[in-house]
């Protein structure tokens, strides 16, 4: 028995050494927020962030692996070390920045927008749906409108279609394809709102080395224009680029 334990330790030690050479970076994402990240027909993570993440890993010479997780537990699982980065359309906010670190943004501060069935909805006093625990939900709660919270972004849009909510408030990038595909049923209403400091990659505060690597990779993509190409590819011509 004792011998067995010794061999396992030896194995663990060698594994530890091997690790120092080729580390696998686990990328945590939600997989339910197109076009940022979603599961394609094969059931794999796909979308803007998949392409971006893979490119960043190549540039930083890292081996990466994708993990999907529930939005609710995405930060606790990161700080507890179940994966090493969050790359899930997460806006950089002061509150989040206190707990985790962000790379520089890879999407410029983006607009959040209201979408409704008719153009005459009063977004300041109506019933507005938003995904629970997002910055949009927080914004609506403060705006004085009646906030209706759903667990998934899918349900927030459905609630406007079935009349439960007057409008949905979410990232504009998420809403644009939905409005385009709706065949005129859904329209943008009111002014867009700028929330957060753009979308960045989240990392543990103690992982400064890894953050620097990704920061450099993002910078290099910004410099040679590949990031802009990628943004246009996934979000269309009209969005802000760097």
């Amino acid at each position: 028995m004792k011998k067995m334990i010794l061999t396992t330790t030896a194995l663990a030690l060698t594994a530890g050494m091997a690790l120092a050479q080729s580390q696998t970076i686990r990328m945590g994402t939600e997989g339910a927020y197109p076009p940022y990240n979603f599961l394609n027909d094969k059931g794999e993570v796909d979308g803007f962030e998949r392409e971006l993440g893979d490119e960043l890993c190549t540039r930083a010479e890292l081996t990466c692996e994708w993990v999907t997780t529930d939005w609710d537990g995405i930060i606790p699982n990161l700080v507890s070390g179940n994966y090493d980065t969050i790359i899930a359309g997460m806006s950089i906010t002061a509150e989040r920045d206190e707990v985790i670190d962000f790379t520089q943004n890879y999407i410029p501060p983006a607009a959040s927008a209201y979408v409704a069935l008719s153009a005459d909805v009063d977004v300041a006093s109506g019933v507005i749906s938003a995904q629970a625990s997002t910055i949009q939900a927080g914004y609506v709660a403060e705006s004085g409108a009646t906030l209706l919270e759903f667990a998934t972004p899918e349900e927030t849009v459905a609630s406007v279609r079935n009349g439960e909510a007057d409008a949905v408030f979410a990232d504009k990038d998420y809403l644009v394809p939905i409005v385009e595909e709706s065949g005129g049923a859904l329209t943008f209403v009111a002014e867009d709102v700028q929330l957060g400091g753009g979308v960045g990659m989240g990392l543990r505060e103690s992982d400064t080395e890894l953050r620097d690597k990704f920061d450099a990779a993002i910078q290099s993509m910004k410099d040679d224009g590949t990031l802009n190409t990628l943004i246009v590819k996934w979000f269309g011509e009209d969005v802000d680029t760097f």
Binding site: A12, P35, K42, G43, V67, V79, S80, P177, R204, S206
Partner: protein, 294 residues
């Protein structure tokens, strides 16, 4: 899957459906049914073992042990399972890693908690950071089994505790008269007889266990409800070859049928087990069986 699936937009309804239902994503959905069944198959005996240990501890004459058993039953039964799942898994994972950290990296000089971060040495990661994806999946599967077993073990302990005390006093007195020791009485008289008293409670528990599998996603296992939600949500043509509206209703209908069928099968099997267990027992049911045979 099929060779004609290359351009789904041009297909007829039937062929489209055939292609749609065999995408990789659907395969994961079907696979998840297997995961749920395997999980149930492993969790049930594990929870029963936890329950047996808990009930035995609660019965113990040694006060700390009995307090521990009773405390386990009372506390875990008192907490809604969702609330338990939401923080216990992370705690368990950190606990495991901390223990392994103490073991494999004794000369680590940095604190394990740095601000919000929980950091152990790379070699102490469970599973190791560079393990293959399937190792991670298997690990979270077994963490889920363990967590379910703890929760349902507490309920099973409560049932078994009652069942052990329901064994007729006369049976125990007879055993004592035969000169059996405490231990012998427990293993030869109480344990074989308690099952018939425990089975109604345990089978109800099994039914509850089946129905709590939608909570698996909280534990990091992609279960059937997760996939049904994911697949059923409306899809725009930009992100899939198979655009469709909100089909969650249909997927949930499939799940409903699955759960109802599974419940029905369980009921039939458990009824048979009950009939088998009642055989020759000192209960009204056993008496009725004896009479029917005579």
């Amino acid at each position: 899957m099929f060779s004609f699936c290359t351009d789904p937009a041009t297909l007829s309804d039937f062929a489209w459906m055939a292609c749609y239902l065999t995408t990789g994503k659907h395969m994961s959905f079907y696979y998840a049914f297997g995961t749920v069944l395997v999980l149930l198959a492993i969790t049930a005996p594990t929870a029963l073992a936890f329950g047996f240990a808990g009930a035995s501890a609660a019965r113990s004459r040694f006060l700390p042990l009995s307090l521990f058993g009773k405390g386990y039953i009372a506390i875990v039964r008192g907490v809604p399972d969702i609330a338990f799942f939401l923080f216990f898994v992370i705690a368990l994972d950190q606990g495991l890693e901390y223990l392994k950290h103490q073991w494999v990296c004794p000369d680590w000089d940095q604190p394990v908690r740095q601000g919000n971060d929980f950091i152990v040495c790379q070699a102490a990661k469970v599973p190791l950071g560079n393990s293959a994806q399937w190792v991670h999946k298997t690990y979270s599967f077994f963490v889920a089994v363990f967590t379910f077993a703890i929760v349902f073990g507490a309920f099973a302990a409560n049932v078994l505790f009652g069942a052990m005390r329901a064994v007729p006093r006369a049976q125990l007195e007879t055993a004592e008269a035969y000169g059996m020791t405490q231990r012998q009485t427990f293993w030869r008289i109480v344990v074989p007889q308690m099952w018939v008293y425990a089975l109604p409670g345990l089978s109800n528990l099994w039914m509850v266990l089946i129905k709590s599998t939608p909570l698996l996603f909280l534990l990091g296992v992609e279960d059937i409800v997760y996939w049904a939600r994911e697949l059923g949500g409306s899809k725009t043509p930009r992100f899939t070859d198979y655009p469709h509206g909100d089909w969650r209703m249909w997927y949930f209908l499939v799940l409903l049928v699955f759960y109802l069928a599974f419940t029905r099968v369980s009921e039939v099997v458990l009824d048979r087990v009950m009939a088998r267990l009642t055989l020759g027992q000192a209960t009204t049911g056993g008496e009725a069986q004896r009479r029917a045979e005579a």
